[in-house]
Subunit: 545 residues, 2 copies
């Protein structure tokens, strides 16, 4: 029996496009002699469909997509993920289902039981958990069909859940396991995923075909890396990261095993590829080609510009240099050099006149109060307005260049440097931004060395340095990581040896700046806890603040 693993990049709500893509893969798999082709979780409608699931029309379109695929399941079985209607009045309206199509119709449907409802996941908002489990028989084989999280409670060892769906399915003695997933990237996740699959295979002694999505849906990036596991616990094959791929496997060879093919998983390289994917799909799926960004000569905008050039092509990245009287000479020359190194277009548009116009207009109303954050923000906002005007005039999307460290502590100007349709490095701490720069330069100095080595500065007042108002990034990043990713509170942080005053100051900065992050662009997610939909915090609160 030959099984095709189809790792595809879906588009939320684009039923026609998604089905066309699956039909093409089905034809290719059939040409290669496949008996079964397997797609990802909710592949008809894309993942995550979010509140579109509350629209009957959206569910009917999903059902119609399944029917289109069913019609193509003549000499090949198709396993597709789709929302299905819960016929019982009590409970949520929908199931998240794996559907086995053959001979023109639905042969079997297995609903998902473990519904992730944490971080970016809201599945219990929409879906009723499965309580019944079985297998589907096909050409003399019994197949356990499962959806994503349902294999993540092996031996009931995941504290989140009380049942183990595969344990239930084993009562029917399946020959192999299929899992339809939509498992988003974070820089540790590919390793975790292999461990979990290995734990399943070790427990059940069965081969497993694990099919993930590739590509990005706004902030959520699917890395692919679909897996074929042999019963001996080895990885028979791991599909490439961040791209579509169709591969066909002979079941017997998988059962025999004896190979272990895993790809290298280097954190910074993966983050780099994830961010390039995130930019590429945000633009591609919205139908845009060109981006614009402010290039300051600093490391954050340099790395953002570099990633955009790789995602969209250098010619589609418009860099705008907007010096002020506080900009140092090297700011412009470093930024210029970067654009030249990549071959991206750039413009120099000084903000002196617009800043002066604001000051002339506003000074009579400032009641003689001294220069403060207001004037700093006026510079950042002059730049934001200029970038948005060019974006509007030429139809480019503005990329935001804030990093995670500064977004965390609110070191940025709302409606100024926090403008943009997509935050590229908003889930990358400052120290990792440096590492990304080094990685981008690994074969050749593309980002000017001076951009990497000079002390970071917002250049909004004379001789300003980030270190005037922020702790050293090496320490700041550690505290932030413990607080944000690991949910460590003040007591735990102080116990770990961080200075108490510093801990309280950093946590307070994080908490009082929730209002700024609330209005930030979606952030490409590369960590286990990114700002945005995965981290939901009150604005009006009084806790560690």
């Amino acid at each position: 029996m030959k099984i095709a693993v189809a790792q595809l990049n879906y588009h939320i709500g684009n039923f026609e496009g998604n089905v066309d893509k699956m039909l093409k893969a089905t034809a290719d798999a059939k040409a290669q002699g496949a008996d079964i082709i397997v797609f990802g979780e909710l592949s008809t409608c894309g993942y995550p469909p979010r509140d579109f699931l509350e629209f009957d029309d959206f569910i009917k379109e999903s059902e119609a997509s399944v029917q289109r695929l069913a019609a193509a399941s003549k000499d090949i079985a198709i396993v597709v993920g789709s929302p299905t209607v819960n016929p019982v009045i009590e409970g949520k309206d929908l199931y998240n289902s794996a559907i086995f199509l053959y001979d023109g119709k639905v042969q079997y449907t297995q609903h998902k039981a473990l519904l992730p409802t944490y971080d970016i996941f809201d599945e219990y908002r929409y879906f009723e958990p499965a309580t019944e489990f079985g297998v589907v028989e096909f050409k003399g084989k019994k197949i356990a069909l499962s959806v994503c999280e349902d294999i993540w409670n092996v031996g009931n060892e995941n504290p989140l859940y009380v049942i183990c769906p595969l344990d239930e399915m084993m009562k029917y003695e399946p020959d192999f396991i299929i899992n339809l997933s939509a498992s988003p990237f974070n820089f540790n996740h590919a390793n975790t995923r292999i461990s979990v699959l290995k734990a399943n295979v070790d427990r059940y002694g069965l081969p497993m075909f694990y099919v993930n999505h590739s590509g990005a849906q706004t902030e959520v990036i699917f890395d692919g890396g679909s897996l074929v596991m042999s019963p001996d616990g080895n990885v028979f094959d791991e599909l490439p990261y961040f791209q579509e791929e169709l591969r066909v496997y002979e079941l017997e060879e998988v059962v025999n095993g004896g190979v272990n093919k895993v790809q290298e998983k280097e954190k910074i390289a993966l983050i780099h590829d994830a961010l390039v994917t995130g930019i590429r799909d945000y633009f591609g799926k919205l139908g845009f080609k060109k981006c614009i960004l402010g290039l300051s000569g600093g490391i954050d905008s340099a790395v953002t510009s570099a990633l955009a050039a790789r995602a969209l092509g250098a010619e589609n990245v418009l860099n705008v240099l907007m010096p002020s009287k506080f900009s140092s000479d090297h700011s412009v020359s470093d930024a210029e050099q970067l654009a030249i190194n990549f071959g991206s277009p750039y413009k120099i548009i000084p903000i002196k006149d617009t800043f002066d116009a604001f000051m002339d207009t506003l000074s009579p109303h400032f009641e003689g109060l001294p220069f403060n954050i207001t004037e700093e923000n006026l510079q950042a906002r002059s730049r934001g307005v200029i970038l948005m005007a060019l974006s509007n005039k030429f139809g480019h999307i503005l990329l935001n260049t804030s990093n995670k460290s500064e977004m965390a502590v609110g070191y940025g100007t709302l409606y100024g440097d926090m403008c943009g349709g997509l935050s590229v490095i908003g889930d990358v701490y400052k120290m990792d931004v440096y590492a990304l720069a080094r990685y981008i330069n690994k074969d050749k100095e593309l980002i000017p060395e001076n951009t990497i080595v000079k002390p970071p500065s917002a250049e909004l007042r004379p001789d300003q340095k980030d270190s005037d108002s922020l702790p050293d990034y090496a320490i700041l990043d550690e505290i932030l990581y413990e607080y944000i990713e690991n949910r460590q509170g003040p007591k735990e942080l102080i116990e770990k040896g961080f200075d108490e005053k510093l801990v309280r100051r950093v946590l307070r900065m994080v908490n009082i700046n929730e209002f700024k992050r609330y209005q930030t662009a979606p952030v490409l997610r590369v960590s286990s806890k990114a700002f945005g939909m995965g981290r939901r915090m009150p604005i009006v609160g009084k806790y560690l603040s």
Copy 2:
């Protein structure tokens, strides 16, 4: 037996403040001879605490708050809502609990079973549902303790749930029911709430004490309206809306019933009071006193300014009039008249010079392209920058003045008129904004009549009218309401008789503008489906767009 209903305004994470407030109410209730005092759901930590619940430190603070209250439960029983730790490894880490304190310690704990996970609610993200139910005995009475949603599946008629907690508790033959709630306002909800309570009381034939929160937590507004229900199905008492209140009831009198005291529920009046509460608490809980807003002479900013004057005091509302060459004469005079009518300060700051500076700076880069949305947005963004500068200089919070109709269709400028820390009328459709204006003027013309009767215009190009680019608001609002609040799709809308082309155009406008709403301020929620945390939509999608 005397039971005190304490309807209080909590503050998320402000454990000390919340407990102080509850201790004071306990002392007052004791002075009035109460045997029991009842507070709201999660009253130790405030509702909704969101992802703060993932921090052990936050849970420990909640537990310490319960202990502080326990120490005060000497001659009075205290019923408090708080998160508690699930001692079992499997399942979510926490329960959402009602805790009965007496004689200095915890006498009984009842966890919540029905965990709302829809709209603004994410309870299954944090809490394990209760599976065990009982009653607590106190001074010869048996009491059924329940938390909020647990009374919302009377007779298993709520399709969301499969169990009915009160049915379970009835096995122990309680004498009365207590319900601790955090039930947010929407303009239909107070009536629904009474119906649901009546259904419970009718089914069980028992008196019920239903204790809600009052006050706002960012966008979520609690209206109070706590209820005491007699077994005859009548409302023995309904506490006031949008304010704190402590009332003590003699159980026997409640049992006797025979009165039906309900307050008037007029939609526009309720929305008015809800928005005033929302503004007041946003400022109060963040420690701010003064707001700033752009006053255009149009209806939206006029109503926002009026509501702010009522919430904060007219002297704390700084109105800024920022005419451009496209502003009509009446814009400035209408806006001025409004500020004078309310006695609010105002400034006139023309945007000509800043707009001209942007045009001078940008024109060489516009490649001779004609005047378009870019120049319109430059005006709106000049205003946004001016408002934010004044906000920064004087420490005022900028109020956003967009209404729900324009937010829905994307008729607004990101980083321009969409700036602001809080969206006051972003959940109020345009036709209801007019009704609010009439309501504000009910005793006296405060909002100038001309502001109400003139055709709405953004005044960003010569002779512009909203009707140039948008359908008539009366029709637009109906379509939006059916699509957003009622989740009706294109087919249902066309079947209802709306023009097909118009329906498709409006739905497309809503869907392609998700990226703008993503970066909008939190919106005070007054409907059953507000933009923001209650409506979660993909940005990158291709559905009805």
